[in-house]
Structure formats: structure tokens, C-alpha cells
Amino acid sequence: MAKLLMKGAEAIGEAAIRAGCTAYFAYPITPQSEVAEYLSKRLAEVGGTFVQAESEVAAAQMVYGAAGAGVRVFTTSSSPGVSLMAETMSYMAGSELPAVFVNIMRAGPGLGGILPCQSDYNQATRGAGHGDYSFMIIAPSTVQELADWMIRAFPLSEKYRNPVMIVGDGLIAQMMEPVDFDAVKAEEMPDVEGWATTGAKNRPRNLINSLFLDPLKLEEFNHHLKEKYERMAREEVRYENYMMDDEPELVCVAYGTTARIVKTAIDVLRAEGLKIGLIRPITLLPFPKDILRAESEKPHVKGFAVVEMSNGQMLDDVKWATLERKPVSFFSRNGGIVPNPEETVEFLRKEYERTQK
């Protein structure tokens, strides 16, 4: 199919429809209210369900109810709204419900600002809600990739019966890029009769629940969750290598929009002959830990450089993954400022020179 020029936020909505999602519940918040605006019209066309909820608390709970009733459903929000969804996230993981959440991150804390940021990395990967649970966290870096992962996210959440969250920053939702919605094939929703509350016709009743009165059963359930997350870590890690084939001496780690800026900076420095590469985590959870650890063991790798729009949240994961065998340096802009290619080039050049000493 021909590519459509689309704003990221609208591509989220369209990709969800292409994925076979039939329900969306949300509360408006900049910089992603266009998803709700788009879907209020589009879902009506395809006979789906849209409700503008009274809050993000309620929007997420509507997702819980609809997911429990066995349909493909999702919600989107931005940082302050995602904080309000934390309760439901924990309940959904605890009740093993599939659904997709999207966080178009803006600068925090508090009301913060509406401009792009990556400071909800910890909120996403450590679980905003209570209890031993995780979501799978995916961070696309282009509008095309955003659409592709929206289409993949639903079946992934169904495979694990656990929510999947897509995180982007304000830029990815607001910029326009060409998108091909057929790049990834949509998958049918698997049969839900075994667990969903669709009405107990010709089957025993189904129960969506996260309450365990028996601590041994709850412990067992937590072990079951742990096994699911371990399986995810074995099977779902995704990342991109950029300029990693010729034994780079400095390995950058960046995701989302920031990774695009780092690529531009690498191109500039490569032209000067500096051997710099990039590992771009696509899944922030499961994190490509083993990939980075393997990199840290290579003699030609002299250091790592993390670039993030936060005070250094993924930075901790990179230090953990590499065991700090090689120095891990850090460059960031925050508060809604996107690092520009020039300052990123300067930072990487300096770090590269340091590795040469």
C-alpha cells in the first residue's frame, strides 16, 4: 500500500484499528490528545467503542473492564495521566489482562511541561503501580516504527496475557512522517472463551480477579508472573545496531527520538573517521542487557555513551548491563529541551577522545 503522511498521534490511532482493536478509552492530555480526536471519529466508522472518560483513573479502569470482557482495547496518555493509571496497571497485570497502554512522555515532575522528555523511563520499566509486576515496554523511534509496534503490541499482550506499553516522547506524536500500515501484518485475536467474562454460556463461569486470600497461592501466582517475565526476557528483546559492524571504540546507547539525534551525530563523526556505533534498545523492558554485557567484554570497546532526555534513568540500566567494565558517560537535556545534533557531536567527540587516552 502507498505510504500515508501522518502525524504520530494519528498513526497510533490508525494502527490500532488496523491491528483489530475495537475499543479505546481516554482522557485528553497534551501532547497526544489527537489520538482521542482521531479515534472518536474513526472508531465510530468501524463500529468500535470510544468513551471520553472522566479521568485517567477511569479511562484505565474502562480498559480493565473491556479487556476482561475479551476485546482488543487500549488507552493513551501522557506522563501526569499515566501516573493516575498506575492503580489499574497493577490490577491488570495481577488479573492477567491483555491490553496496550501508550505514554507520550512530557517533561516532569508534577505538571512539568508539555514538551518532549524521556523522564518516565523508570515509571515505565519499574512499574508505576504496586506489587511484583512488569509491563513489556517498547520505545519506537519513527512514526513508521510506532505504527508497526502498535500492530504487534496487541498480539504480544495476548501472548503473555499482560499489558504492553509503548513509550514515545512528544516529538514522535507530533511530527508527521510517511507510514505504511501494511508493513506489519495484523494478527487475529486468539480465542478468549477460556478466561474472558463474555457470559457463561455453555461453559463454567470466568473470573477476572487479583485477590488471593491464601498467601501460598499468592506466592505461587507471583512465581508464575516471574516465569512469564523471564520468558519475555528470553524471547522478546529487540534492539537496533547502528554502525556496530567495524569494532567501534565508543558505543552509544539511546532510544526513541534521542537515538535519531545520536545517529545524526555519529554520521558527522564517522565522516571524521571516529569509530562510534549505537545500540538502540527497542524494548526497554525486557532490556537488551545481554547484548550490552557482551559488548562490554569486547577489547575494542573502550567506553559507552548514554544520551537521554532525563537525568539519567536508562543510564542506570546501562551501568548494570555493562557492569561498568568500561566507563559509561552521560549526556542529557531535560525539561522539554531536545538535545541538538551539534551539542551531541561535541559530547561524543570529547568522549571518543577520552577513550583514546
Binding site: 479502569q61 474502562m62 473492564g65 457463561a200 473470573l207
Partner: protein
């Protein structure tokens, strides 16, 4: 021999955990009887609250979801919107519905969500050990109002039925009580009407049931019925506050 009284088909055989004299049991039973009478067991979906009645899903033999504290009306909205063929109801206590879940119940009612709410008003938080609820009576002693509810600092008890019936959106809003057999019969009529409106796809329906919590009130079951009549009835008048035919 003729059977004249059995467990409703829509209830499981589990023995309830409720305290002696607690009215949750009779409310559960009436809901189950109505599901049986309407023959809708295989298309009913209930939403359990957080509160003493969280385990209602153990006692009802229909599909069930357990909702976070106060959020049942939002969850029910999600489910009913995507599966309108289901008969959906929430069962909620007064801490759940009138305190932490106030936004969810008001907006579900205001959107005219076509499900039924069974609201158990026992003027106290049962499950957590008898703390003050928004519905606790003025002067009523609870573990967090040991000198009695002071309306100057805690405000007056919230009358949910009256409040919801001010909304412009058509709805069925009724208050009944569980303190005498006569009132229980009236409560069942109200519940049946509420489910009927849902089955006719008419409107949001809300049944407030004045209930007792002998354990946390610190009164015998019989004494609790009397306390309800003397203290709650004058403040929480019974009757139909709104029907979808009011225009």
C-alpha cells in the same frame, strides 16, 4: 415432597463469610433470585467492589470481575460498552461508592451507562474495621470518629440517591431498606425493576439498600435493625427518586 425454598441457581454452594446479622447475604440472594427469574445467568457479568462484599464473586455463579476500590462503575462501563448484550451490574459498599469512587459513579450515571448498581449503605467501613464513611450518621461513633461524627469537620452524610437523581440524564434511582421482611420485599421489587430497565436498554439504574453492620456498629443484629430504623430512615428517606419516564 414439594420444594418451596432452595439456593438460587445463580449462587454457588459456598458458605458466605459474613458476620451474623449482616445484610450483605440477603442482598446477594435477591440479586441471584432476579438473575434466575429473568433467566439471564449465562449473560450476566457482575463487578465486585473492595469491601466486605469483595468475595461476592465466590458466591455468585456467573461471570465476574473484581474491580479496584471504587472503580467498578468505570470497569462496568468498559465491559458493557463492548458487550452490550451482557447484563452488567456492580455491587458496591458506601466507602467504595460514596467515597473513593464518587467520580466514577457520578460520571457513569451521567453518561447513562446501561448497567445496574447495587449500593449497600451501611453507614460505615465494614471491611477495614469500622471507620467513618461519608454516609456515617451525625454523632455516630466509629473507630475514626470516636467522639461521634462531627458534621462541622466531616460534613453531613452524603445522600447518593438524592445527588444522582439531580442529573439530567434519564435514570432509575431508588432507595430501599433491608431492616424488615416488608422492606426486603420492597427492595427486591426495586432490584427487579432496575434489572428490567437494563434489559429494556432504557437507562442507568441505581438501587441504594440501607443495610446493617452489627459487628462494627457494636449492636446486636436485631438492635441494628432498630438502629437503622430510628437513625438512618429519617435521614435517608425510602422511595423512587427518579425514573426514565420523568421528563
Amino acid at each position: 415432597m414439594k420444594t418451596i425454598f432452595t439456593r438460587p441457581d445463580s449462587m454457588t454452594e459456598k458458605v458466605t463469610h459474613y458476620c451474623p446479622g449482616c445484610t450483605h447475604g440477603v442482598a446477594h440472594r435477591m440479586v441471584a433470585e432476579i438473575i434466575d427469574e429473568f433467566g439471564i445467568k449465562d449473560r450476566t457479568l457482575g463487578f465486585a467492589p473492595v469491601g466486605c462484599s469483595v468475595l461476592i464473586y465466590e458466591y455468585m455463579d456467573t461471570d465476574y470481575q473484581q474491580a479496584a476500590h471504587g472503580r467498578a462503575p468505570a470497569c462496568a462501563t468498559g465491559a458493557k460498552r463492548v458487550r452490550p448484550e451482557l447484563i452488567v451490574y456492580t455491587y458496591q459498599g458506601d466507602g467504595d461508592l460514596a467515597s473513593i469512587g464518587t467520580a466514577e459513579i457520578i460520571h457513569a450515571a451521567n453518561r447513562g451507562e446501561k448497567f445496574t448498581v447495587v449500593f449497600i449503605n451501611n453507614a460505615i467501613y465494614g471491611m477495614t474495621g469500622g471507620q467513618m464513611a461519608p454516609t456515617t450518621m451525625p454523632g455516630q461513633r466509629t473507630t475514626t470518629s470516636p467522639m461521634g461524627r462531627d458534621v462541622l469537620s466531616a460534613g453531613h452524610p452524603i445522600r447518593m440517591s438524592e445527588m444522582l437523581s439531580t442529573l439530567r440524564t434519564p435514570a432509575y434511582v431508588v432507595r430501599a431498606s433491608l431492616h424488615t421482611p416488608y422492606n426486603i420485599i420492597q427492595s427486591k421489587k426495586a432490584l427487579r425493576q432496575a434489572f428490567q430497565y437494563q434489559m429494556d436498554n432504557r437507562c442507568f439504574s441505581f438501587v441504594e439498600l440501607l443495610s446493617t453492620c452489627p459487628t462494627n456498629w457494636g449492636i446486636t443484629p436485631v438492635g441494628s435493625n432498630k438502629w437503622l430504623e430510628e437513625n438512618m430512615l429519617p435521614y435517608y428517606p425510602l422511595g423512587v427518586f427518579k425514573t426514565p419516564d420523568d421528563e
